[in-house]
């Protein structure tokens, strides 16, 4: 009988720089044609386990390792990297991090070239991989010019060209729009059905289970909490740590007899926003067209839009639809080719970006693109100083913003040395300190796992107590965020903009915009279980609620 492709026996690992083990006593075995879903929040040991499987531990990361990882009966620790690469293909979280060649064909050929295969064999492998993933049409395209979903297929084709028996997929859905994520999961399933052994690491369990994994391994603090079938709801899984289907969360909340937190309701947040004066127009787009160059196609066409006081807007739409281009017009980083953008009644063409920044703060997607100062305090003083705040006003603004985003005690820390979540909060605090009236966030949850981003968005958008205002409602007249995560729009927004084909194709309350599934699918937004359940219960709830809050409705 042939050896199992992957056997893990009593595996433990402790990084040299850490006082406690990252993973402890992990054992399992996978057969050909089997898919294992590994779930858990940040720090649970998923990534360490993946590094043990693909050989980065013990080669690149030093520490104390016990137990064994066997690939087709051979211990990983005793294998050469070239042999490993032909057995385990690792797909990283962000395909951009994985692609090294400038053209699709060369990218797919990169692995076989490194293994020194003859030219004819490389060509055969590349052609086969492209055909398998139906990306032959991309062969001559530049890798940086293709969409996120296409990049991931190219990265996957690069792995398939090395013909590994095991595919290790490390949070492969993180950078994809919902429709691309679904397509990717279909591909993973079909590869499993063809006999590959697939290890899918994903905290978005709701999405991952559409690939019909055979088993689930759920981890917490380096240990296996559950390993087994995925058909029934395992009670060991914490719905606050990983994203589960809404029905599972409802069932679990009821089973566990948890107290339902009424503040989970976005309607409470909406009411708190409604307490402030609504209706004043803060930013107005009038017949806006935009193109990047004279000979390039329009990116925005005839956009008419008003951002009002009290709005908490989620901007949805596929990659390349013009979402970021739209919001960059509001801050004045881009000026319309035709039409006008008015900020508090003034045309952005007549204003500098610095002038607009007094009204509108923009938080970029990646904190590393803006953090630079030696301390958090100096980072936060940067904006107010540029806007020529008086010293005492600046100090007060910085103090308040540190306290607001709960960075107390970290004032003298270097921002680039903080955790990703803390860095993200620092960028928000930097905008808060500028005392802008409107905050715009580009993909506020990017790079964070479910537990962290839910915590972050709750801190931003949920009132801390009954009758209180949320952080954004208390500090900004309006807030806008771009996201691929439909559930963020369901849970936190009071208005949804759907952007596609250069236009704003839908604009209204989430309950109105998100009920049109045909429209959502046309613009690559995939309805989620939370949205479906909310729509089912809408006649009784009267508003969209979180899955936990829906547990109150039988």
């Amino acid at each position: 009988m042939p050896e199992s492709p992957l056997v893990i026996e009593n595996l433990s690992f402790q990084y040299r720089t850490r006082p406690e083990p990252a993973i402890e006593n992990i054992s399992f075995e996978l057969k050909p044609g089997e898919m294992l879903l590994i779930a858990g929040s940040s720090g649970c040991g998923k990534t360490t386990l993946a590094r043990c499987i693909n050989g980065l531990i013990p080669r690149s990361y030093r520490g104390k390792r016990n137990g064994r990882v066997l690939l087709h009966g051979k211990d990983v620790a005793e294998m050469q990297i070239a042999d490993m690469a032909q057995i385990v293909g690792t797909l990283l979280q962000d395909p951009e991090r994985q692609i090294v060649a400038s053209n699709v064909y060369n990218e797919i050929a990169f692995g076989p070239e490194n293994l020194g295969f003859p030219r004819a064999e490389i060509i055969a492998r590349v052609e086969q991989a492209m055909k398998r993933l139906r990306i032959e049409h991309l062969r001559d395209r530049e890798t940086f010019n293709i969409s996120g979903g296409e990049k991931q297929k190219v990265a996957l084709a690069g792995l398939l060209a090395m013909n590994p028996s095991i595919l290790l997929l490390d949070e492969p859905l993180a950078s994809l729009d919902p429709a691309s994520a679904y397509e990717a999961l279909e591909v993973f399933r079909s590869l499993t059905d063809e006999g590959k052994t697939v290890v899918l690491i994903e905290h978005r369990v709701e999405d991952a289970i559409t690939a019909r994994p055979d088993r689930l391994l759920y981890m917490e603090t380096g240990q296996v909490k559950y390993f087994g079938s995925i058909k029934d709801l395992p009670t060991e899984i914490n719905h606050r740590e990983v994203k589960l289907p809404a029905e599972w969360v409802v069932k679990r909340v009821r089973q566990m007899g948890e107290k339902i937190d009424k503040r989970s309701s976005p309607a409470d947040k909406t009411e708190s926003i409604q307490n402030v004066e609504r209706g004043e127009s803060l930013v107005v787009f009038e017949n806006v067209d935009f193109r990047y160059g004279d000979e390039t196609p329009l990116v925005l066409q005839d956009v008419n839009l008003t951002i009002n006081r009290g709005d908490l807007i989620a901007v949805l739409g596929p990659n390349g639809a013009g979402k970021s281009t739209l919001v960059k017009h509001a801050i004045g980083l881009l000026k319309p080719t035709r039409g006008h953008v008015l900020v508090e009644g003034k045309d952005t063409r007549t204003m500098s970006v610095a002038q607009i920044a007094r009204v509108l703060g923009y938080v970029f997607q990646s904190p590393t693109h803006m953090l630079f100062a030696p301390t958090v305090r100096e980072e936060l003083e940067f904006g107010p100083r540029n806007l020529e705040f008086k010293k005492e006003v600046m100090q007060q603004a910085v103090k308040e913003s540190i306290s607001t985003v709960n960075l107390n005690g970290l004032e003298e820390y270097p921002p680039l040395g903080l955790s990703f979540g803390q860095q993200k909060r620092t960028t928000i605090a930097a905008v808060l300190a500028m005392r802008s009236k409107i905050m715009i966030m580009d993909e506020p949850t990017a790079g964070q796992d479910y537990a962290n981003y839910t915590h972050f968005m709750d801190a931003m958008c949920r009132p801390p107590a009954e009758g209180a205002q949320s952080l954004v409602a208390a500090n900004f007249a309006a807030t806008m965020f771009i996201t691929h995560d439909l559930d963020l729009a369901v849970t936190y927004a009071n208005r949804v903009l759907l952007v596609g084909d250069r236009h704003v194709v839908a604009d209204g309350p989430p309950e109105e915009v998100l009920k049109d599934f045909d429209l959502l699918r046309r613009y690559r937004v995939r309805p989620t279980s939370l949205l479906r359940l909310n729509l089912e219960l809408l006649s009784r709830t009267g508003r969209f609620l979180t899955a936990e809050a829906l547990a109150a409705y039988d």
């Binding site: 990297i81 400038s102 293994l115 980083l333 970006v353 953090l371 100062a373 940067f382 540029n386």
Partner: protein, 281 residues
Amino acid sequence: MLVTWKYRPRNTFIQRLDPRTRWIFLFSIILALTIPEIWDYRIVFPLFVLSLTLFFMARIEWKDVRRAFIYIFILVFFIVGLNALFFGRGGPSSVLDPSSPVLFFGVTVSKAWFAITQVTRMLTMALLAIPIPYTMDPNIYGTAFKRMGVSDKVSFTIDLAFRFLPTFARDLTITVDAQRARGYEVEKLKGGLVARIQRLAPLIIPVVMQSTVTGEEVIDAMDLRAFGTAPRSWLKELRYAARDYFMIALGVAIFITCCVLKWGFGIGGFFVPEFFTRLVT
């Protein structure tokens, strides 16, 4: 992720050349001017005309290369040119001829002619180098060096290095936008040199951090796909055509001719032509 230069295929003589030919020709001209230290306008000016002709033959749109030329002009005219004009640095000692007539502010006829020659030499080399990113397929950077006998690792390093600059430019654009959104205005830099450099920190630090992260990501991605574990196959094949042999022969002939003229016949050194002296005095 690394991005590439604004390359697009054009059906020109220059782009039909094998990439190795273009590197060999470029290096031949650079070596021809620098190794035998050619300063004679009778050699430098024809080479400049040859470079200019080849540049126009590449048929690159001005808007594509405008920014690159602005940087080159600043470097060549304001840094190298003015340094040569006022101080006569970077050339043979005869430039500092004390008997040369003074034109103004210590600028002699000799230094003035040297500045013109120096700028022309630099532009001759730049005109051959600037079109390369715009007219050479980025997929064959590494292959070209490998086929010239360079090792796998060095060839791929050169390939990555070429794509590093546009990636750096992309990251810089994002960072400039992010800081402008915080009220930062590059154009309002105040104070002395040190203060101005300090004021650039909001741009420099994030971009350097981003570059470091990108570099680490590229290394991990290459490791996981067995780079450097065995002698590498290079998929792309390159073949010389008659035009390549012609251009390589021309480049090598220029190099040899310059060496022979300088070291065999003493022609090619610095001197001020009489027509220039008459013109400016």
